[in-house]
Amino acid sequence: MASSDAQEAPLKSSTYEPEYKSSFGLVVDVALRVLLFATALAAIIVMVTSEQTKMIPVAPGKLMPRTAKFNHSPAFIYFVAALSVAGLYSIITGALSALALLKSHGHSTKLQAHFVMFDALLLGIVAAATGAAGGVAYIGLKGNSHSNWNKICHIYGSYCFHFSASLILSLISSITLLLLVWLSVYVLSKKVARR
């Protein structure tokens, strides 16, 4: 199989690669995509169920119930949107990678090239979502005396706890995406070196 491939003119990247016998890269790929889906879904669920109502003294002697929900801040809405895109993307690409694993000839290179580009783009989006939610959560935790933004975490304890949990989960998903792109670069360099 390999010799007949070498005799043909090198075709462009739309052919399947029959020499790609080692499926270690594909197994790790599918595992990482499953991890990405799990952490993205978990982060969304934890963030969306973070609603908490507390009685706040708005005037001396008067208590009013005040709610804290995730959609009070546009940064958190963006966070949920970006992570749902990541979860959906991981379902599609995880299914495609698992299909490629079951077939004998592995990935077509054109598909893998598209995967890497979208992985890198999605990495940027998820990293921005993590940064945005982290920034707002930090202000909620510590407050900012210079601009008179008071901290809220000493009042809404469970809300802040949900937040830190979903932030950690989204950090794990961005690290997973980073590992996915690194893995693809590694597999690629192995393929180029083998040529």
């Binding site: 009070h72 801040s73 890198a120 990495l123 993590t130 940064g131 920034g135 210079h146 601009s147 008071n150």
Partner: protein, 185 residues
Amino acid sequence: MDLQYKEGINNGRIGGVKRTDLALRLLALVLTLTAAVVLGVNKQTTTVAITLSPSLPPVKLPVTAKWHYMSAFVYFVIVNAVACAYTALSLVLTLATKGGKKNVSSMVVIFDLLMVVLLFSAIGATGAVGLIGYEGNSHVEWQKVCHVLDKFCHRVMTAMGLSFIGSVAYLLLIVFAVINAYKRL
């Protein structure tokens, strides 16, 4: 396949490194440096007129905003400075090895990806904090500040836009590296 590296100028390369690679790295260097500097020297002092009671004339209180009052801005400046230093280092490395050493180019791709993550997260954080400053958040009683400190907010937006283009340049560097590798297969 190693011969391709040594052909040099005739292949769309300058000194062994592809022209688009070089151009994107220079662009990223300039943009991250500018973004770090624009936010790093950002401060503004204005006065706010507060009416204490209807009979007295309004009292003018000085309001100062410096960039290091917000942790998100400090993170932004640090990340942009690190990205700028890394770009300079990678430019020197790729030009010195003339794109020939495989280890150097692999390490450069790996660290490029790390820079993408850091830069995007810094832009997200600054954008979120800037949005709170611009619109305020009525649910947690955080007042908006940009109607008073308008030059400060404009400079923050400028720095964010510059850094965004720089991080897109990093993303394109990765995409081009992958495309070139796939073309060689």
